[in-house]
């Protein structure tokens, strides 16, 4: 029950893109086509869960016991960067189908603040191992959900006649605001 609550809270109530503002660059950058949005969402779910687990273990068993907490930022970014590299090599060798699907989105994830931010948030909230794992998954799924909704809307907007100064990024941001507003309805659920 506790885990269902975490999942609902992280996907809908505290959606990482629309309520916490993490990972907005890929949100705007990869949402012009549904295909790229799907690829990015899958890659984020994959990496975020692994990164959440890895950084939690490193923080709990390496940084904290040896009083190296101030090195958190540099340690986490190194873990995420090498994890992404490792996942890329592993997929290329063993699951080429998935590798071709994720394609260029894997290396981009290193500088995706959703991944880094979710790891830092897990530590800041002092979660235990399993809740941290479920939270990471929830954040990633919420990222995917918001990105796919947004990509669908942007594909529709391409067909609409938008006034010139509002075109492209400007209208995209306002659309994101409307989606964010609709996610507001979930507030108070958890």
């Amino acid at each position: 029950m506790e885990y269902i609550e975490i999942i609902v809270a992280t996907i809908f109530v505290n959606n990482i893109l629309l309520a916490q503002f993490l990972g907005n660059c890929p949100f705007l950058g990869t949402s012009k086509k549904m295909e790229t949005a799907l690829g990015m969402s899958m890659a984020v779910i994959f990496v975020l869960v692994m990164a959440g687990v890895m950084t939690w273990v490193i923080f709990e068993y390496l940084l904290e016991p040896y009083k190296l907490v101030y090195l958190r930022t540099i340690a986490f970014i190194l873990v995420i960067a090498s994890l992404v590299q490792f996942v890329e090599m592993f997929l290329k060798k063993s699951i080429p189908g998935l590798y071709a699907g994720l394609g260029i989105f894997l290396p981009l994830i290193t500088t995706n603040c959703a991944v880094f931010g979710a790891c830092v948030l897990n530590i800041d909230k002092e979660l235990d191992f399993l809740p941290a794992l479920v939270t990471s998954f929830g954040y990633a799924a919420g990222f995917g959900l918001a990105l796919i909704i947004f990509a669908g809307l942007r594909e529709r907007i391409l067909l609409a006649r938008v006034p010139k100064p509002l075109q492209d990024t400007s209208i995209a941001l306002i659309t994101a605001g409307v989606i964010s507003l609709s996610f507001y309805a979930f507030r108070g659920m958890v």
């Binding site: 958190r72 540099i74 290193t110 995706n112 800041d124």
Partner: protein, 207 residues
């Protein structure tokens, strides 16, 4: 020479000002701009990291092997982010708490890595300094402006300080009858107001 350094500096303030002209680094832009004070504080922290990393990357640009350059840049940036984090925790604790997770997030801010990769790794140290300072201050005024608009609409007043040095306090700018629009300082308002500001910037032609 002097002229080109000046132009590297001024391009960051207007022609290439992030996030309006270069749509990069949106997370802190949307996340911390609930008030002008937070926007400016975040902008200055980013400026410091950008300036230091630009200088160091440009000094080391002939030493760093091309294949591992991104990893090297990230380590350089992360080092300065830790410096900012520790300094803010020591000297500006209130702001440190307000900005929260967004301070360590400077490390994954695309602007910082983007300038290191696109500019500092190809140009000399003076030009890179000017570029870092220009882009950083451009980012600061953009964040300050967005923060000011959101704070004005959301609360009707402007109040704050920059590291205790400059303070401002304007209460009820629109008069006492003004009903604050809470929407502006909440999450959806951030997207909508940034979108409208971008639209306003598009109306002003860039040279």
């Amino acid at each position: 020479m002097a002229k080109s350094i000046a132009s590297e500096f001024t391009k960051g303030l207007w022609n290439e000002v992030p996030p309006f002209r270069l749509v990069l680094g949106l997370c802190p832009v949307l996340g911390v701009t609930t008030s002008m004070k937070n926007g400016i504080g975040m902008g200055l922290a980013t400026t410091f990291v950008l300036l230091c990393s630009n200088v160091l990357v440009s000094l080391l640009r002939k030493v760093i092997p091309a294949k591992v350059r991104i990893a090297c840049f990230i380590i350089i940036i992360a080092t300065f982010v830790i410096v900012v984090e520790q300094m803010m925790a020591a000297f500006a604790y209130g702001l440190f708490l307000d900005l929260g997770v967004f301070i360590p997030l400077i490390v994954v801010n695309c602007i910082v890595l983007g300038r290191a990769e696109a500019f500092a790794s190809k140009n000399g140290v003076f030009k890179s300094t000017a570029d870092g300072l220009g882009i950083g201050l451009g980012f600061t005024w953009a964040l300050g402006l967005l923060g000011a608009v959101r704070e004005l609409i959301g609360t009707g007043s402007l109040k704050g300080d920059v590291f205790g040095m400059i303070t401002w306090d304007f209460q009820n700018i629109f008069g006492a009858a003004f009903e604050p629009l809470g929407f502006a300082v909440q999450a959806p308002g951030a997207f909508v107001i940034l979108g409208l500001l971008l639209c306003a910037m598009n109306l002003i032609p860039s040279k």
